[in-house]
Amino acid sequence: MCILVRNVIFFEEIAIYPSKYCRNFQFGLIQTTYMLKILEKLGHEILYFLETAGRMGIFLFQSIACIFLPPYKLQPIIRQIYFIGTRSIFVILFTGTFTGMVLGLQGYYTLQKFGSEGLLGSAVAVSLLRELGPVLTALMVIGRAGSAMCAEIGIMRNSEQIDALELMAIDPYQFIIVPKFVASIVSMPLLTFIFNFFGILGGFFVGVSLLGLNSGTYFQGMYSAAVWADVEMGLIKAFVFGLLVVWICTAKGFFLHRERAGGFGAEGVSRTTTNAVVMASVTILVWDYLISAMML
C-alpha cells in the first residue's frame, strides 16, 4: 500500500519535472529499486508467515506432548471444563433450540412444495448432526471462551506473569495451556451433543406442535435417514474444532509479544483477541469443508 502511494507520488513528480527523469537510464534504475523494494517486502511477508506457522506448529506439538507428561493435575482441568463447557451450556441450549426451530420452519415450507413434509425430521436431524451442530457450537465457544482465553493469556504475557512462571521453574504449558486444551477437547463434543439434542427438539416443536405435522412421522423420518456415519462425522468435527479453537486462541495470546502489529498494552491485547476470533472462525469453516469433503 505504502509502496503504491509512493509510486503514485513518484509518477506525479515525473509529470511535474519531466526533464529531471528524461534519461531512460535513470528511470530504469529507479524502477529497479522499486522492484527490489517490492520483492523485499514480499520476502518479509513470506518469512513472517513461515515463522508464525513454525511457531504455531511447535506450540501445538509441545502442548499435546505436555498433556501426556506428568504431573497430571485434575483440578485445573475441571475448572477449565467448568468455564469452557458448563458456563457455555445455556448459550448452546438457546442457540441450538432456535437453530432447530428455524430449520423446522424453513424446512417445512420448502418440503411442502414437493409434498414431502414427512422428511422434515430427517432434514433437521441430518443438517444438525453433520454441519450446523458442530460449526455453530464451535463458533459460540470461540465467542464465549476462545476470546476470553486469548485475552487472559495475552494479559499474562504482557504483565510478565508468564516470565514469572518460567522463573519459578513452572512450565507455563503445563500450568496454563494444558488444562485449556483438555477442557476444550472434552467440552466441544459434549456441547455439540447438547446443541443437536435441543435443535432436534426445537424442530419437533415447530414442525409438530406449531405446524401440525404428525409426531410419529417426524421421528420415523429421523430414524430412517440419520445413520451412524452422520453422528460420527459430527463427533469428529466437534473434536477437531475443539482442538483448533483452543490451539489458535491460546497460541495467539501466548505469543502476543511476537505479533507483528505490536502486542503492546491493552490495545495489543484487544487487537490480538480480535485476530484470534476471526482466525479461529475462518479456520473452523475451512476445516468444516475439508472434513466434509474427506468423509463424504
Binding site: S159, Q161, A164, A169, I170
Partner: protein
C-alpha cells in the same frame, strides 16, 4: 571481604546483547559470589533489567556465556534451565504477581507446583512468610487491591518461599516513599541474614543501597564498571564511575562506619 575462595553462583562472560541495531551490552563480564549482595546501578535505560534477564535466562545473549551453578544457560534445553531455576527467586520491576489469584495463592503457587508439600505445610509456610513481610490479614486480597509497597512485599514473599540460593531484585523500591523503601531494605537485610541467599539488586537508591551491598557495579555506555566494594566504588578513579558518583552522591564521601547498623535500628 575474602571473595577469593567464594564460589561463583552466576557469571556473565564476554556477553553481548543488542536489539536490532541498538547495542545494549558490549563485552560484559560479571561474577556473582555465593552469599554476597551485588548491586547494579546506572542511569535509566542503560540495560540493567536486560542484564538481570540475561542472568535469569529470560533472554539469550547474542554472544558470550552465562554460567549459572556451573551450567552455561545461554545454550541449554528448557528442561535443564528449569532445573537450574529451582535455585532462583525473582522480584520483578513490575512485581508480576498473578492478578487472578489472591495473595495467599500467589505465594503458595511455587510450593504447590514444585514441591509435594501437604496443604497444611503450605499454609504454615505461607503464613510464616506473610508474617515476615507484615502482610498478615492481606492474604485474601487480590494484587489489584494492594498498595505498591504491599505488592513489593508480597512479591518478595513469593520470591523467598522456596528458599532460593540466589534472588534477583529489579528495582525493589521504585515508586515507594523513603520510609517504605527503607522497610523493604530492612526486610531484605533481615531475610538475607536468615536465609543466606546471594542477591543481585538493581537499584537507583544510591548511596542508601551501598550499606547493604558487598559489590557495586555501574552500567554505563554499554559496559560494566567496577564490581568492587562500595567504599572502593566511591573512591574509584574510573572516569565513568567518578562521573556517576559525583552526579548522584556528590563529591563528599561520608564514612560508612558512622552509619553501620543503620538498618538494624528500624
Amino acid at each position: 571481604m575474602s571473595n577469593v575462595e567464594k564460589e561463583k553462583v552466576v557469571e556473565l562472560i564476554h556477553v553481548d546483547k543488542a536489539f536490532g541495531d541498538q547495542i545494549v551490552l558490549e563485552d560484559v563480564n560479571l561474577p556473582i559470589y555465593e552469599g554476597t549482595t551485588t548491586v547494579i546501578v546506572g542511569p535509566s535505560g542503560t540495560g540493567k533489567s536486560v542484564t538481570l534477564k540475561l542472568m535469569m535466562g529470560l533472554m539469550r545473549p547474542d554472544s558470550g556465556q552465562v554460567i549459572a551453578f556451573g551450567h552455561d544457560i545461554s545454550n541449554i534445553s528448557n528442561k535443564e534451565l528449569r532445573k537450574i531455576r529451582m535455585n532462583f527467586g525473582v522480584l520483578f520491576q513490575n512485581v508480576a504477581l498473578f492478578d487472578s489469584m489472591n495473595i495467599f495463592d500467589n505465594i503458595a503457587l511455587p510450593l504447590r507446583e514444585r514441591t509435594d508439600a501437604t496443604e497444611d505445610d503450605i499454609r504454615r509456610n505461607v503464613q510464616e512468610k506473610l508474617e515476615m513481610m507484615d502482610l498478615t490479614g492481606a492474604d485474601k486480597k487480590f494484587p489489584a487491591q494492594l498498595s505498591g509497597g504491599m505488592l513489593k512485599r508480597a512479591g518478595l514473599a513469593r520470591a523467598l518461599v522456596l528458599d532460593p540460593r540466589i534472588v534477583f531484585f529489579d528495582e525493589p523500591t521504585t515508586g515507594l516513599d523513603a520510609n517504605k523503601s527503607a522497610e523493604i531494605y530492612r526486610l531484605f537485610h533481615h531475610t538475607q541474614s536468615e536465609l543466606n541467599y546471594s542477591a543481585v539488586i538493581v537499584s537507583h537508591d544510591v548511596p542508601k543501597i551501598f550499606k547493604l551491598s558487598d559489590f557495586v557495579v555501574l552500567l554505563a555506555e554499554k559496559k560494566l564498571h567496577g564490581c568492587v566494594s562500595p567504599e572502593d566504588f566511591q573512591l574509584s578513579d574510573n572516569p565513568a564511575i567518578r562521573l556517576y558518583v559525583e552526579k548522584n552522591i556528590g563529591p563528599i564521601y561520608s564514612s560508612l562506619i558512622e552509619e553501620a547498623g543503620f538498618y538494624e535500628t528500624f
